[in-house]
């Protein structure tokens, strides 16, 4: 059948390929406040449950994460594939695994959101030539707080941070205080994000009270390349001039240890990239590739026959396919032909039926 009983993703293995596992409803708000693809969120609301298919790329990722040695420098994994093949879903699957294993998850839902459509660009107080993005930073901090509630009181700061003449956060205070300050004082939220990332980088994999850090970035190719933001004299802003991007790039480097970086490439939402591009070097560019190198590319392909069967049976089971013709063999062949087994196209097609 298509629904597997195991909701424990630690025990997922090759036998479960193609089957669905249910994410407990309570996890949705904590683990995924921001990060699931919008259509999938609608599906979850409609079906009143969240089922994720167990697929090869995610299983591979999880097996690497299980076996990796966390004393070594961080391993970077890059999910790539054509549009709609399931990269974001695989990323979310891996994030869910990390979260159930007790890791601290740093999930950036779409790095492209930080390099375009920013209404307010403030010059950074910390570094003269950089720019802050208060709205994006405070939104992200809020979601980060929801995801990692239990860590916020446990992690203590190792350094004193001075925000203004009167405000500072002392050494030894819990991380939660820093995050709250960032959410309330929107002006310095970008610097707070930088401080949070730095603290986590230093403390991940530490021996006393150590935790594992998973950095999940969707659309990582947005960090290199061009932005659509302009300074006041209409000259374009380079990505490294944005505080958020600068700090995130430091996280993606492998000069820290005790965690993993899982990233996906995304053409939808990317700027100045042709719509047929999906291979890593095309989307990352020279600079991006050199920064990510060495990384482990994980290809995400379209549904195999078995996976397609499973998805089709799942939709039938949920009575999502109402049209009588879609329930016949002929109809199934038509669906295969029309969607070419592309997961997102299939989902959109079935929405009409």
């Amino acid at each position: 059948t298509c629904l597997s009983g195991t909701s424990k993703n630690a025990c997922q293995s090759e036998q479960h390929l193609g089957q669905y596992y249910t994410v407990p409803a309570s996890h949705f708000h904590t683990v995924f406040p921001h990060g699931l693809p919008p259509r999938y969120q609608q599906q979850v609301k409609t079906f009143n449950e969240g089922c994720v298919m167990v697929r090869q790329p995610a299983l591979e990722l999880i097996s690497h994460l299980k076996r990796a040695d966390y004393i070594n420098p961080t391993l970077r994994y890059l999910l790539y594939g054509v549009k709609g093949s399931g990269k974001t879903m695989s990323l979310c699957h891996a994030v869910h695994y990390c979260s159930t294993q007790g890791w601290l998850v740093l999930h950036i839902p779409d790095a492209h959101l930080w390099v375009k459509n920013c209404k307010e660009l403030l010059p950074s107080s910390y570094h003269a030539s950089r720019f802050d993005q208060p709205i994006q930073a405070s939104n992200w901090l809020r979601n980060f707080r929801t995801t990692n509630e239990h860590f916020l009181s446990k992690i203590k700061l190792r350094q004193r941070y001075v925000w203004t003449k009167r405000e500072s956060t002392e050494e030894g205070r819990p991380l939660g205080e820093l995050v709250d300050m960032g959410v309330s004082r929107v002006k310095s939220s970008s610097d707070v994000v930088g401080a949070v990332l730095k603290e986590l980088r230093l403390q991940a994999g530490g021996t006393e009270g150590g935790f594992r850090l998973a950095v999940a970035v969707d659309g990582v190719n947005g960090l290199w390349g061009r932005t659509t933001l302009k300074k006041e004299d209409k000259s374009p802003v380079a990505p490294e001039e944005l505080t958020l991007v600068h700090n995130l790039r430091k996280m993606i480097n492998n000069d820290w240890c005790g965690g993993a970086v899982i990233a996906t490439l995304s053409q939808t939402g990317s700027l100045y990239a042709p719509s047929s591009a999906y291979l890593p070097q095309e989307l990352l560019g020279e600079e991006g590739f050199d920064s990510m190198d060495p990384f482990i590319p994980v290809p995400v392909s379209l549904y195999s026959e078995k996976e397609f069967e499973s998805c089709y049976l799942y939709y039938l089971d949920r009575h999502w396919l109402q049209h009588p013709h879609s329930q016949t063999e002929e109809g199934k062949k038509e669906l295969i032909f029309l969607s070419n087994r592309n997961p997102s196209v299939l989902e959109r097609l079935c929405a009409f039926l």
Binding site: H64, A68, N72, P73, Y80, L279, D290, S291, P294, V298
Partner: protein, 301 residues
């Protein structure tokens, strides 16, 4: 009362006539039509319109109905070259295809061909079907001369005409006539066909020695100028070296010895090959797989 009815009768006569001539004109020339008490019963035909003979205000009499479009009467095996013998603008009544062109109407499809200016504006090649071109060739044949029968093999052509010049022309729709790739012209000469062997050797020797001379500005060549990707001293090499050192793979020891040892390892060589292949040849699924395997081996996964 009488005047009133007279006015009504005049109007009604005018309207009846309008109906007869198939045109619904109310007050076409914007002339105030008066109703006078006297009955102005001059020729009832052109009420209110000056006499223009049979041309009428809008030539409504001699205009004939537009008939069916020609497409309705086209057999499937017709001779298309008669429909479009020369380059003419698109005629929607002559093209039996349900073509649509243009920006879609809101919540709809591109507009149909009837009355579509977009289809008329663009150049069309309806007059150049393969059959038409065959006919053109047939017509041009009497004016052509025969290929010389002595040049029937490629070898003979090369012997008599050793220098070949190849130039390319590009056709595209765009803002500019010019295409930079059209400026590349290939000139091919076979060395064995050269009659003046000594001079040719002399030229080649000179070129060879010239190419070895280093100009002052050549030392300013940057990484971006390089034709090929070389792995030495690239960011990729630096990254992998620092990663491996930190992984303490090489054991103790510092500096050059460690580096040399690491570089000599087969996994590092494999990695170097895969990165060079990716950068030089461009990406493909197979080169990505090779890179993946190399990285996995290197990082002991």
């Amino acid at each position: 009362m009488a005047a009133h009815t007279l006015k009504k009768s005049i109007w009604s006569i005018g309207r009846i006539h309008c109906h007869v001539y198939g045109v619904n004109v109310r007050n076409p020339l914007n002339r105030a039509t008066y109703a006078t008490a006297l009955s102005t019963n001059h020729s009832s035909q052109n009420k209110g319109f000056p006499d223009r003979g049979n041309r009428g205000p809008f030539n409504r009499r001699s205009r004939r109905e537009a008939g069916d479009p020609r497409t309705d009467r086209m057999p499937v095996d017709q001779d298309w070259t008669t429909v479009y013998p020369t380059a003419t603008p698109f005629r929607q009544g002559s093209v039996p295809l349900p073509v649509r062109m243009g920006f879609p109407v809101k919540k709809g499809v591109p507009p149909e061909k009837k009355g579509n200016l977009e289809l008329i504006k663009i150049p069309n090649f309806l007059h150049l079907t393969p059959l038409a071109i065959k006919k053109h060739c047939e017509a041009l044949k009497p004016f052509c001369t025969e290929w010389p029968s002595a040049l029937d093999t490629g070898a003979k052509c090369d012997e008599h005409f050793p220098i070949k010049v190849e130039s390319k022309d590009y056709v595209s729709a765009g803002t500019s006539l010019r295409n930079p790739s059209a400026r590349i012209v290939h000139l091919r000469v076979s060395l064995s066909a050269c009659v003046n062997y000594d001079y040719a050797m002399y030229l080649l020797t000179v070129l060879y020695h010239e190419s070895w001379k280093m100009e002052a500005w050549e030392s300013e060549k940057t990484v971006a100028d390089m034709e090929e990707y070389s792995w030495e001293d690239s960011p990729s090499q630096k990254n992998i070296m620092s990663t491996l050192v930190r992984m303490q793979v090489a054991g103790e020891g510092e500096g050059e010895a460690v580096r040399e040892e690491l570089l000599g390892r087969p996994e590092v060589q494999e990695y170097r090959d895969s990165v060079t292949r990716l950068k030089n040849e461009g990406e493909s699924e197979s080169s990505m797989h090779q890179y993946r395997d190399a990285v996995k081996k290197l990082l002991n996964l």
